[in-house]
Symmetry: C2
Subunit: 416 residues, 2 copies
């Protein structure tokens, strides 16, 4: 048995133990985890300094180093995050539906814990506590596999969380961190079907692709967002500009940021110059199709090619394409979109209805920024990621999406 298989077995046992806890007991454990995180702040910061030092020496970009770095405030934020999760409604035990069958059998469909949830993630150490807390709140055990850049930080956070669990009388095996951060163990984890009920990769497109290609355990794909803002012929000029700018620049590094602006040819001559100016003013580089370029004489733009339509820049770059119809916009989105968040800006009732009906994505917006696709915004309370696949969960995933169901059937001797 490999170390990972042994960890899987421990997780499976822990999941059964956690699954038997009442909501109150799970909340007590979460409170203890939050407290332990605060108490062990010095250890966590010391470990994080070692990670940061190593990352700098290794030439990590300042933006990534910033995502990796913890300070007292951030640790406090992580502890508060656990408290916030604690305060959410317990998803476990909800009777989702039920009826009495003609033969007298009483059927109930009940929400139950998933079991063991694996999370593979990249540089941010706060994911360690966020994910552990969500899994525990949902009645499941977690196997966490963070990036090697954050290993020391993740290990220190996990030690604190496990100490909290033990303080509350819950098995520490409910939260385990994979210590070997090699690709081999990640690959092993993706095939640990006997022990992992659900695997969620959180990270860039490369990680997601690797997991989807290699996993035999059930996976939920998250977070790749090649999102579009389509400005229809009838769009309100002010609104079109405000939404295009907000969707791109309010936080370019996240998955719900827009990557391509599609604009109807009937509106482009009138609207594109001012929208482009507003974007340029915010420091956005524009990669334009030929027709868009011809409408922006003297503006500092770059030519777009096929690759641009496919790219999730996650940066101050926006592809721009002129289309001749709503159909062409829908077609473009069907071809290049990743099914995350798509927006139409329009004053036409019919076009709003057609766009929302025909665009196949987790979230489809009329006259609002794609940036709203978020568990907090949607009222889920917390979020483990944003699903871009169609099975089990689509869009922001909260506690409910970390559970499964079970039919309980009470009889009095019925046979068939």
């Amino acid at each position: 048995m490999t170390a990972l298989e042994a960890m899987g077995e421990r997780a499976r046992d822990a999941a059964r133990a956690v699954g038997r806890l009442s909501g109150a007991d799970r909340n007590r454990a979460l409170a203890a985890m939050s407290t332990a995180l605060l108490e062990q702040t010095p250890d966590i910061l010391a470990a994080n300094r070692r990670d940061v030092e190593k990352a700098k020496q290794g030439g990590m970009t300042p933006a990534l180093v910033d995502r990796l770095r913890l300070d007292e405030n951030r640790v406090r934020g992580m502890a508060q995050g656990i408290r916030d999760t604690l305060a959410l409604t317990d998803p476990v035990g909800e009777v989702m539906e039920g009826r009495r069958l003609e033969n007298g059998l009483q059927l109930r469909k009940i929400r139950v814990p998933m079991g063991v949830i694996g999370i593979i993630y990249e540089a941010r150490p706060n994911v360690t506590s966020d994910a552990a807390a969500l899994c525990l709140k949902a009645g499941s055990a977690a196997i966490l596999r963070g990036g090697k850049e954050a290993f020391e930080s993740n290990a220190a956070v996990t030690r604190a969380l496990r100490h909290g669990l033990e303080t509350a009388g819950v098995t520490a095996a409910a939260v385990q961190l994979v210590e070997d951060t090699s690709r081999e163990t990640a690959a092993q984890m993706m095939r640990l079907n006997r022990c992992i009920d659900l695997l969620i990769p959180r990270g860039g497109a490369g990680l997601i692709r690797t997991v989807v290609e290699n996993a035999t355990v059930p996976v939920i794909q998250t977070g790749v967002g090649n999102c579009h803002v389509y400005i229809d012929e009838s769009a309100d000029p002010q609104m079109a500009s405000a939404i295009a700018v907000n969707a791109k620049v309010s936080r370019p590094s996240v998955c719900n940021a827009a990557e391509t602006l599609l604009i109807h040819s009937g509106a482009a001559p009138r609207l594109l110059p001012s929208i482009a100016a507003a974007l340029r003013e915010k420091g956005v580089r524009l990669r334009c199709c030929g027709r868009a370029a011809s409408l922006l004489p003297g503006v500092d733009i770059e030519p777009a090619d096929e690759t641009d339509w496919e790219t999730e820049y996650l940066d101050y770059i926006l592809a721009v394409r002129v289309v001749d119809s709503l159909e062409e916009a829908v077609e473009h989105i069907a071809r290049y979109g990743t099914g995350h968040s798509e927006c139409i800006v329009t004053e036409s009732y019919a076009n709003a209805e057609r766009f929302t009906a025909e665009v196949d994505a987790a979230a489809v917006y009329v006259n609002a920024s794609t940036r709203f696709t978020d568990g907090g915004m949607f009222g889920l309370g917390a979020e483990i990621g944003i699903s871009t696949q169609k099975l089990h969960a689509r869009g922001p995933m909260g506690l409910r999406e970390l559970t499964t169901v079970k039919y309980i059937v009470n009889g009095s001797g019925q046979v068939r």
Copy 2:
């Protein structure tokens, strides 16, 4: 582009067309499919005779030949099955939840079609029409890949269904049959991520395992049922015997049939002899642990080993094991069960509650036969299979389980 990729592209386009149809239009298409099936009965039966002839020459067992064989009645049954599906409530368009956010955004979570559903199945030609009808009713296109033994039958059925679609003005590409029944195309189909949104294997454990091992498209595992009946110390003797016999013999070849009988050591001396006699009378062979064997002197039994606990016999064979406690029964089920259907026979309230809480399976029964796990029985109207995994669907899958969701967000210029 391979033939299968081209088929996938056609299915993707067809899914968009079908997704735009109203429920009434989909129903008209289903009615036409049903009619076409009846009209083309002679062709279908002729094709089926060729399959049956070949199967007999190839030495197929009589039971399998029976599953393969169609007659007028069976074709009428298939046509009626499509009519029954037509009559079900349209799952598409249901507003599952919704609210107005503080910023005025109006959020709705809507049930929408899955897109393209792939089904890989084995010998029964009726799956072709059942699956096609369910997928169409749910607003999706279907790519069907049946077993090579039934190929001529499946092709004739598909021709009829596609003729029906065309009669109703719907693209025939909404229902496509993979013509190359080699393992290679099945393997290709499992990796057609750009075109298949959901793949459902229907068949034996070997097929399911192959699909889970090799698929990169989202899969729902179905139908492997190593189901248990646990007879608790307090069980009513009559009820225990009736349920054990029914769960085993009412239809041994199906996934919700029981494969192992667990019996509490406090009840075994009293109950096992009569239960064993009732099972033997129905022609059931018993594979017994040592303690069970010692309670059945003179009864014609066979010794059980580890393999028996793992085996889904799908036959008139039942493994029998004496356990010393409910915990031991739960433990056995956790170790060997496939998460399908599990039953306790008990008069103890506390034990009924513990068993239903602690056994992790799609359906957990108190004092009723495992044989009730079925879409029709559970009131789903029709069933595409029984999910034994925890993601997306668990237990009998009906039309709702063939759909996904989409958030539609209506705004008036909101930015973040």
